[in-house]
């Protein structure tokens, strides 16, 4: 159900202007010009890259269920909400995601915490040799340094960390299911965590729903952790937030722009298509509102596009272009992106 509601909300935000696969690429966090630009156009930051493991099969199943229940309908090549669907999202609580800035890194935070808790739990049982559940060597390295630097054997460390976890997930931003998922995905001495399937059965929900609730829980946690109240948890959040939300390729393009090269020159230098570089521009514009767009579009042209978009309540490039045939699709995209930042 939870995934259904998220999907309905996303489809609602696309305002019937995108195909049925657009929500899929958004949730998977596809780093293409189209998806990144849509994030800005339709203000979908919180849902971007929410669940990169989503499979097309899984997704199509959910979409057909929504269609069959008449929460959504398709119209030519796009999908949109029905009255029933609209009613459905009005009755739901607002999901508290922030996919744009965490992008799956929330799991790294949890892996670190998981290994810290497992280590402490085993040490308490006087077992200082154990097989870590967490196999990622970079997480091992991080936690090793963390434990040594924080002198984890000093009296009071464990109690204080536990208090910080209690205080964090005890906060009113969490629901009980969040708190339980958070704690029961941890493992310790003689206390192994529960699998997704076991948790899903307990709550009588689907595995996907439980995973999405867990991700929501981590996003709330990362948002709530603060350096004064949760100092030992705060250190575990190091480098979890994406600083420059640009793809690596767009970053390279950005550097070349800073050196003063044009789109054509950059395309040639990087042996990429002009279209790709234009996608990068859109990405850069949506990430950095100080990026100068005057080489691509004039202020006057920009305002015209925004006015038409507003007047006809649309972000469809074709519709807009019919009214400004002198502008390219690329220019219209820039204008629409700029209009939202």
């Amino acid at each position: 159900m939870f995934f259904h509601q998220i999907l309905l909300l996303v489809i609602h935000k696309f305002r019937g202007e995108r195909s049925s696969t657009a929500p899929f690429y958004l949730l998977k966090g596809k780093k293409s010009g189209q998806t990144i630009q849509d994030v800005t156009y339709f203000n979908l930051h919180s849902f971007f890259s929410l669940y990169s493991k989503l499979s097309m099969e899984e997704y199509k199943d959910e979409i057909s269920t929504l269609l069959a229940n008449e929460y959504i309908k398709s119209n030519e090549s796009t999908i949109l909400l029905t009255e029933k669907g609209l009613h459905q999202i009005k009755s739901m609580r607002k999901p508290m995601y922030n996919g744009w800035i965490y992008r799956g890194n929330e799991h790294i935070f949890f892996s670190r915490l998981e290994l810290v808790v497992q280590t402490l739990s085993y040490f308490q049982a006087s077992e200082n040799k154990f097989v870590p559940n967490q196999k990622d060597q970079t997480v091992h390295q991080f936690v090793r340094t963390y434990l040594i630097e924080n002198d984890f054997k000093k009296p009071g460390f464990v109690v204080s960390l536990k208090q910080q976890i209690m205080d964090l997930i005890g906060s009113s931003s969490f629901e009980d299911i969040h708190r339980e998922l958070f704690v029961y995905r941890l493992s310790g001495y003689d206390k192994s965590g529960l699998t997704w399937e076991q948790l899903a059965r307990y709550y009588n929900k689907s595995v996907l729903d439980v995973k999405l609730l867990f991700i929501e829980c981590l996003h709330i946690a990362l948002h709530t952790i603060n350096a004064e109240k949760h100092p030992d948890l705060y250190i575990l959040t190091k480098d979890i937030e994406v600083v420059t939300p640009l793809t690596e390729s767009a970053m390279k393009t950005n550097l070349l722009f800073e050196k003063g090269y044009s789109i054509e020159e950059i395309a040639q230098m990087r042996s990429l298509k002009k279209n790709t570089i234009e996608d990068h521009v859109i990405e850069i514009v949506s990430a950095n509102r100080h990026f100068p767009i005057y080489p691509f579009i004039s202020n006057d042209q920009l305002n015209r596009v925004l006015q038409i978009s507003h007047e006809f309540q649309t972000k469809k490039l074709k519709v807009i272009r019919d009214h400004v045939p002198d502008l390219s699709f690329f220019q219209i995209r820039i204008a629409l992106t700029k209009g939202e930042t």
């Binding site: 808790v117 976890i165 704690v183 029961y184 192994s192 399937e197």
Partner: protein, 470 residues
């Protein structure tokens, strides 16, 4: 006390060697080539770990199974050995660089067959002192082994650069044919051979032919709900493993399913829950078993015919590590033998696949990952027709192998004796509970299940957090 026993106690915490271990270790230290065949759980790892502390240089272990490699690295680390590393495709570029530059600082280097063709790796290896080389899971070298990995054959030419270094080949199961393949591939001249009997006297065998699938399901559910665990139910498909887990759970059994499609995190959790005694049964595909350290498994049940005698022996062998009486049961219907053949053939390419593979770029054809790996190897060394003939031959062999397992279950001869004969062994002493063909009393072998219904656990996060950290 001699030096070997001293190291055994100090480093490994055991008081005495098990059957054959000491002799093998002495041969390794003396620089001899060694082939050791020991059932899993009989202290195979010790054979290559212990000598390392008595000779100079680094031990290089070639292992074709990545998950096993991971497990062995972890076991060494648990012992406090930090100078251990696994070099395989899981390492990032930076990690690999770091490791290669510091190769001589490691005492144990685990590596996969594919790394053996990495020039840089080999160049760095040639600069360090190698104590001896270990070929783990050596049966995978032979195409007659049940888990043949053609890329493992690369070890043959690779070893030519280490002519002076002795080799230790380890495996749990090998027929004479496999042993002779191992010897020639690893260029062993007069190796010291140690073959531990594959017989497990504390495991009794029970095989039953049933009419149809429903009878099988009834039989299995009846058995599991009335007798004691812990146990593993091996099924042929992921779907079946989930089906049985569901049916059994509904009848109050503490059970979970396990298969390769689950996330790694969850697979680890199921293993742990089983090891900690939080689960009594695991319904699993053959993906379950490696790296399970649990001594008191009392029952292994198969609802199908495995694809070879060796894999059957290996799966059954997970029971009774503690030496207490256990039971291996297998139920089948007459159509299961074809099903087994079908499953066994899944990874083998058809003639047409091979032709296509030879005549086009390998990236253009969609084949299972293992098939692609196998064919890429043969494409380097054989012609198209030779490869086609080879696979026809292998398939034929496979069919015979499944047939022989099937007839072993069907005829009126002792199951234990036949299993042993297959590995060129003969039964020396028949245990009082042998198999359902010769002698066997179910009341001796199994206990009644304690009818403790599992109450539904109520999750409580504060309580749980206090259990984890206090």
């Amino acid at each position: 006390m001699d030096r070997l026993t001293e190291v055994l106690q100090q480093k490994f915490g055991y008081s005495a060697f098990r059957d054959g271990q000491k002799e093998i270790i002495e041969q390794v230290i003396a620089g001899k080539d060694v082939i050791a065949i020991l059932p899993t759980g009989m202290g195979k790892s010790l054979l290559f770990q212990l000598p390392a502390y008595l000779v100079e240089g680094t031990v290089v272990i070639v292992s074709p199974l990545l998950s096993l490699m991971q497990d062995q690295v972890e076991q060494l680390k648990i012992m406090g050995e930090k100078r251990v590393v696994a070099i395989n495709s899981f390492l990032s570029f930076e990690e690999k660089e770091f490791v290669l530059r510091n190769l001589s600082t490691f005492k144990f280097i685990f590596t996969s067959p594919e790394m053996l063709q990495n020039e840089r790796f080999n160049r760095m290896l040639s600069t360090i002192q190698i104590a001896y080389i270990v070929a783990d899971e050596a049966h995978c070298i032979s195409q007659w082994g049940f888990d043949f990995r053609p890329d493992y054959l690369r070890i043959s030419s690779w070893l030519k650069s280490f002519k002076e270094t002795n080799v230790l080949a380890l495996t749990a199961t090998a027929t004479k044919k496999v042993v002779s393949d191992i010897k020639s591939t690893l260029h062993m001249k007069e190796p010291y051979e140690f073959i531990h009997s594959i017989d497990r006297p504390s495991i009794a065998y029970e095989v039953k032919e049933l009419e149809n699938q429903q009878e099988k399901v009834q039989w299995i559910i009846g058995r599991i709900t009335t007798t004691n665990g812990p146990g593993i139910l091996y099924t042929q498909s992921r779907k079946k493993s989930e089906f049985y887990a569901e049916e059994l759970r509904n009848r109050g059994i503490r059970v979970a399913f396990y298969h390769a499609k689950m996330e790694q995190d969850d697979r680890i959790l199921i293993q742990q829950q089983f090891q900690q005694g939080k689960l009594d049964w695991v319904c699993a595909t053959n993906a379950f078993g490696m790296g399970i350290h649990k001594d008191n498994i009392r029952q292994i049940i198969h609802d199908h015919i495995p694809t070879s005698i060796a894999s059957y022996v290996q799966e059954v062998g997970r029971a009774a590590r503690d030496g207490n009486q256990s039971l291996a049961s297998l139920v089948y219907t007459s159509s299961d033998v074809e099903q087994a053949y079908y499953v066994a053939m899944q990874d083998f390419p058809e003639d047409a696949d091979i032709q296509l593979f030879y005549r086009s770029e390998s990236t253009e054809i969609q084949l299972p990952e293992t098939t692609t790996r196998i064919l890429s190897y043969w494409k380097e060394v054989l012609s198209e027709q030779e490869t086609i003939d080879l696979f026809r031959n292998i398939k034929q062999k496979k069919w015979l192998e499944i047939q022989s397992l099937f007839s072993l279950f069907q005829n009126d001869l002792c199951i234990r004796e036949q299993l042993l004969n297959n590995f060129d062994e003969y039964l020396e002493k028949r245990p009082s509970n042998c198999c359902n063909v010769c002698s066997f009393d179910i009341r001796d072998v199994l206990e009644q299940r304690n009818q403790t219904e599992v109450e539904k656990q109520q999750l409580n996060w504060v309580y749980r957090l206090n259990e984890l950290l206090h």
